[in-house]
Amino acid sequence: MKKCLLSCMILLIGASMFSATAQEIEYPGIKVSITEFGYPLIPNASQFDIQIPMWRGLWSDKTPELKFDVWYRAISPYFLPDIFFEVGIVPSINLLKEGKSKLFIGFGTAYSQTSEHISVPAIIPIEYRYAPFDFMDFNLSVQNMIYGEGLLSELILSTSFHPVSDTISIEVGGSANVAFSWEEQYVQYSYGILLGLGYRF
């Protein structure tokens, strides 16, 4: 596991070192992706994600860049909702207007259900993207989820490749979670790897 995380770090740091010129990362179109999470290594969670961009300049030059993320996540490698599932939506706005980087911050919510409980969190995600090459970009995101009885933060560090064309992407990376409950006074954590496959229409 340590080796996997180290490899991801080297890959991401290496990518930023070789970026020669600033490029505008333009991703038109709706992107759908599926991601398998392994906590810590064996695939045991899956996510289906739809990303809907709303482009700067669509109506005028001053229109801010927005995107919507809608997802379904299940604690099952096969998307089965038996143990846990979550559906969520988060609109985000890009705070970096120029260059090859984007910094999205958003606010949204989700509905999650386990065999015993239903929870509805407020979600504040912060996502940094950096695209040194046309065929690769990396992503650092922190998804902060505020529940009625506690907090959950998910850190994702990943790299996306576009080996064939811009429409298809492969994402590899790592994920770490920390949960704190002020109601039951505990701190829990987990970590794992992720592998995703995306298609942009």
């Binding site: 906590y39 045991n44 143990i83 846990f84 386990t114 239903i118 509805v120 407020a122 505020i146 529940y147």
Partner: protein
């Protein structure tokens, strides 16, 4: 204007957020551990059994239990009770040569001085040794248990009252001996604990286990698929360092490793439960020690051909729910005892074998026994079979009413313990 409405939206959503943190989202799953006696035929096709390999090597056995010295086998007996004083249970996953991902499963009780109060469990049937411990939803290489082997005897043959930390250690097997032993006290036998079943004879785990450990103290049991040094680690009980999946430490304890060819895969279950099956069938043997006419020196031991017949079954936990039609009170706790040290009273017991046992309630009253659950102050409610009361006043005579509660809300008649708090 947009910012103002956005801020209102954010505040409303934040305040409207509800519910507990779903730890399942972290890839965690609730894992329980129980113990039960089951025949091989009673396992369903969905249960997955992990059988520890049998131990047959004679070289590590206590001197009188080696083939050349133990004489003839007289009896094979099945214990009616098998108590283990458990300190901790973990599942582990091997990441590297000495790198383990470890999840502790037990909810431990400690006294104010940091000593872990062991939990008595009768492995013939113990529901919910651990309940809903959160572990990563994954495949594990094994399970490790640390326990206290017991065997503290006074010169009179009675079990020494308590340890220096102020609690009882009862790891033992309760056996119905043949009548010819009615007037004979055998080596390793103990008496003197209130609540012991009068029809049974109790032998400490330390004396029953056949491994020669010199100054060591057999107190770790590990069942794992990655155990390369299976059998006994540190058999001479030397002080020094060794590595166990459970703990890396120094000391003179001895760890017993049982190899398995299967891993523990909890990922296929919604509410996985590990069922510890310590096979009691003919577990205890009596050997004549080479003197057929003398009963007093007979050896009572775990069966020397397979002294630790332990297996694990992974299965879907059955969720217990009460019914309004159930008005049967659960059984009382067993072998309830009170001890103490300095400014605390330590209570220990064994939970009943009732299938619908949920928890224990303890009512405390000073100066006299509580007559019912409303007569006094409830100081404990839970399924862990011990309680350390540090809230009392030294010199006060406290009475504790210990009642069991089932999932239908029925209370047992209760057991009363009392002690002047040290």
């Amino acid at each position: 204007m947009i910012l103002k409405y956005l801020l209102i939206f954010v505040m409303v959503l934040t305040f409207a957020s509800c519910g507990p943190v779903p730890l399942e989202r972290l890839g965690l799953v609730n894992l329980s551990v129980s113990a039960e006696q089951r025949s091989a035929r009673s396992f369903s096709t969905n249960d997955r059994s992990i059988r520890a390999t049998a131990i047959t090597d004679d070289q590590y056995f206590k001197e009188e239990r080696k083939v050349a010295n133990r004489g003839s086998r007289l009896y094979q007996l099945t214990p009616e009770s098998f108590i283990l004083d458990i300190d901790n249970i973990v599942v582990y996953k091997k990441n590297g040569s000495e790198d383990y991902l470890i999840h502790e499963l037990m909810q431990k009780t400690t006294n104010p001085y940091g000593a872990i109060i062991p939990q008595h469990y009768d492995l013939v049937h113990a529901k919910g040794i651990t309940r809903d411990a959160l572990v990563q939803n994954s495949i594990y290489n094994g399970l490790s248990i640390s326990f206290l082997p017991g065997g503290r005897f006074g010169s009179n043959g009675l079990l020494s009252s308590t340890t220096n930390d102020g609690f009882y250690v009862l790891s033992s097997a309760g056996i119905e001996l043949p009548t010819e032993y009615d007037d004979v006290t055998l080596d390793g036998e103990f008496q003197g604990i209130e609540g012991l079943h009068s029809g049974l004879r109790y032998f400490s785990f330390k004396s029953l286990q056949p491994i020669e450990i010199n100054n060591g103290n057999l107190k770790y049991l590990t069942i794992g698929s990655d155990i390369t040094e299976n059998w006994v680690q540190n058999p001479n009980g030397e002080f020094g360092e060794w590595v166990s999946p459970l703990i890396s430490t120094t000391g003179n304890s001895v760890a017993l490793y049982l190899a398995s060819d299967s891993s523990i895969d909890v990922s296929a279950y919604k509410n996985p439960e590990l069922l510890l099956n310590w096979d009691m069938q003919d577990l205890v043997e009596i050997w004549d020690n080479g003197t057929p006419s003398d009963l007093r020196d007979d050896i009572v031991t775990f069966k020397v051909s397979d002294p630790f017949p332990v297996s694990l079954v992974i299965r879907e936990k059955s969720i217990k729910k009460g019914t309004s039609s159930d008005i049967t009170a659960p059984s009382n706790v067993n072998i309830a005892a009170i001890a103490g040290q300095n400014t605390m009273n330590t209570l220990q017991w064994i939970n009943p074998r009732d299938e619908d046992f949920k928890e224990v309630s303890i009512i405390r009253k000073a100066g006299g026994a509580p007559s019912d659950p409303t007569d006094g102050e409830e100081v404990y409610r839970g399924h862990i079979p011990n309680y350390v009361d540090v809230s009392g006043i030294s010199g006060t005579h406290y009475y504790y009413l210990i009642q069991t509660v089932d999932y239908s809300g029925n209370y047992s008649s209760g057991v009363v313990l009392d002690q002047v708090q040290p």
